[in-house]
Amino acid sequence: MAAESLYTAIIGLPLLGFLIIGFLKNKISDNIAGILASTMVLIPFLIVSSVFFSLVNGGSAIHYYLLNWFTVGHYSVDYGIQLDRLSVVMSLFITGVGFLIHLYSVSYMKGDKNFSTYFSYLNLFIFFMLVLVLSDNYLGMYIGWEGVGLCSYFLIGFWYKNNEYSNAGKKAFVMNRVGDLGFMVGMFYVFYYTGSLEFVKVEQAIGMGAMTPIVLMIAASMLFVGATGKSAQIPLFTWLPDAMAGPTPVSALIHAATMVTAGIYMVIRSNFLYSLAPEVLNVVGIIGVASALYAAIVGMTQNDIKKVLAYSTVSQLGLMFLALGVGAYVTALFHVLTHAFFKALLFLGAGSVMHAVGGEQDIRKMGGLRKYMPITFATFLIASLAISGIPPFSGFFSKDEILAQAFQQNTLLWVLGLVASMMTAFYMFRLVFLTFYGDYRGNDDSKQKIHESPKLMTIPLVVLAILATVAGTLGLPHVLNMPHLLNDFLSPILASSARPQGHLEASTEFMLMGIATGGALVSIAIAYMMYISKKRVPDEDANYSGLTKVAYHKFYIDELYNAVIVRPMQWCSEFFHKVIDKVVVDGIVNMTGKASLLASDIVRTSQTGYTAFYILAMVLSACFILGYFFIGS
C-alpha cells in the first residue's frame, strides 16, 4: 500500500502543485511558486527513475487499481495506473525534460505578472500528460488527452491580451477537437466489440478474434485521426505553427517534447490493434512521410525562429509516424526520446536568443550572436547537429534507424524520408548561420543589450545538450555489434517490428548510414555557401515569387481550410442566425406572446372594476349552476 501511494504521488504531486499555486497565486511570491512547481515535477521524476531502474534490473511492471470512476450496469469504469516499460520511458522524459523546462521558465518568465498562473498551468499540464501515459485504459488516456489539449490552449493563449495569440489558442483547441472526435469514435468501436477499454483486456479480446479485420481497420484509423490532431500531422497540423504564440518554454515542453508525441505513444500503446491492420499502418506511414516532406519544405522558407522549429517538429513527428507505418514501434519511440531532448533544447535555445535580443523572432534581424552568447550557441549547434543526423549525436541513430526500417519495407518511403531529413539539415543550419554567424542586423540600440542568459536558463540548456549528445547510445545500430538498449528494455512488451523483416546486410546498412550522413553534410554545405559565403539574407516578405512564395505561405493550406471549411461554416451560421433563429424560432416565440396578449385583451373587458358587477356575475352564475343541476337531475 505504501508503495502504491508512492506511485500515485507521481500523478498526484503535479496536481497538488497546480491546486496550491492556482488557489494561492496571489498569496505566494513568484519565487515560491516557481520552486514549488519545479519540486512537484522533480519528485515524480525521482520516483519514476526508481521504477525505471527496478525494471531494468528485471523487476515486474506495476499495475494497480486506483479508483472507480463510475459504474453503469455491469460495466464499471475504473482508473488504474500502469507503470510498464513503455509508460515508464515516456514518463521519465516527460518529468525529466519537464523539470528542466520548469527551471528554465523560472528565469524566462521572471517579471511576468501572471507568473504563478503560468506555473500552475505548467503543473497541470504535467499532471494530465502523466495521466495520459500512465493510464491503463483508453478512457483514462482520453482524459489526459483532453487535459493536455486544454493546458495547451491555456498556454498558447497565455498572453491573451493579444488577440492573435488567443485566436491561435482557439485554433489549436478546435483542430484538436476534430482529432479527438476520431479518438472517441475509435474508442466506441473498441468498447463495442471487446466490451472493455483496458489495454490488457482489449488486447486479449482482439487476440481471441473479437474484431473482424474491417472493424479493426475502422477502429485503428479512427484512433489515428485522433493521433493526427494531437501530433500535428496532415491534415490537422496547421495549429502547431500558430501555437508558437505561447511562451517559448511552453513551445519546448508541450509543442515539441511531450504533448505532440502523445499520438505516437497512443499508436504504440495500441500496437496490438495496428499490427493487425496493416492497411492502416500503410496510411500512417504515407501520412507521416507526407507531413515530414511538406513541413520540411515550408520550414526552409520561414524566417521566424520559432516557426522554423515548429515546422521542423511537424516534420520530425512525420518521420516518427513513418517509423510507426513500417511497424517499427521501438524505433518511433526512440526518435520520440531523442527528439524530446534536442527539440526541447532547440526551443529553449531559441528562447534564450529571443531573451537576449529583446523578444525579436525574425532571424533576418539577428546574426553574429555567437560572440555574445557562447553557451546558447554551443548548445544550439549541438541540437542542430543532432536533428540533422550527424554522428555521433543522438538524432543520427534514431533517424538512421527509421530510414533503415523504411528501406526494408519500401524504397520510395526511404527516399522521401531521406529527402525530408536532408531538408531538415538545410533549414536547421540556415537557422544557425543566420542567427549566430555574420554580423548583427538589428538596430544599434538592441545590440547594446545583447547578453548571455542567466545561469538558470543555461544550465537546462547544457543538461539537454549532454542528453541530446549521448541519448543515441540507447539504440546503437546492430551492425556495430552493440546492444540496442531501448529495444532490449522494451522487448518484453513490444515486438521490435510488426512486420516480418530480415536483418539488413552490414554493407547495406553502412551504405544507408553513409547516404544519410552524406546527404545531411551536403545540405549543411549548401546552407553554408548560401548564408555564410554569399552572406545572403532572406528577402522581405513581399519580394518572394514563384515556388518560394507558395512555400513561404505554407502552400496556402490555411487559406484553403478557410475557404473550404471555415467560410462555409460561417455562411451556415449566418444562415441559421438570420433565418432559422431570427425568423423561425424568434417568430414562434413572439407569436405565442402576441396571441396571449390578444386573447387577454378580449377577456379583460369583462373585468370592469365595479364590485357590484362582480357580485351580480357571481349570483347569476350560482343561479345558473344550481338551475343546471336541478334541471339536469
Binding site: 379583460r604 373585468q607 357590484a612 349570483v619
Partner: protein
C-alpha cells in the same frame, strides 16, 4: 317557557323564513352601493343558512348540523373583523363607503 311554541313551528315555516332572509340578503348585496349595507346583507345570507341548518338538525334529531353552525358563526366573526377593517381603511382613503369608487381593480 315558550319552548313548546317554538318547537311546534313546522319545518316548512323555517325553510320559507330562511329563503326570504336569503333573498333579502341577495337583493341587498345586488342593489345597494353602501359597503356597510352590503356587508350586513352578506351576514343576513349567512344567518339564513344557519337557521336552515338548525331547523333541519331539529327535524332529523341530528346535532352535527348544530356543530356546523357553531363553526360558521366563529368563521363569520373572524370575517367580520377582517371585513370591517377593510371598510375602515377604505373610508380613510376615499372618505366614502360607496363601492363604485373602488373601480381601480379594473383590468
Amino acid at each position: 317557557m315558550n319552548i313548546e311554541i317554538i318547537s311546534g313551528v313546522s319545518v316548512q315555516a323555517y325553510i320559507w323564513l330562511s329563503l326570504i332572509l336569503f333573498a333579502i340578503g341577495v337583493f341587498g348585496v345586488l342593489s345597494r352601493k353602501n359597503a356597510i349595507v352590503i356587508f350586513m346583507s352578506v351576514e343576513l345570507m349567512l344567518n339564513a343558512a344557519n337557521l336552515l341548518l338548525v331547523a333541519f338538525s331539529k327535524m332529523y334529531a341530528d346535532t352535527s348540523a348544530q356543530v356546523f353552525v357553531m363553526f360558521t358563526m366563529a368563521v363569520a366573526a373572524a370575517e367580520v373583523a377582517v371585513g370591517l377593517a377593510i371598510l375602515v381603511l377604505m373610508y380613510r382613503n376615499t372618505k366614502t363607503v360607496n363601492i363604485d369608487v373602488l373601480s381601480k381593480i379594473k383590468g
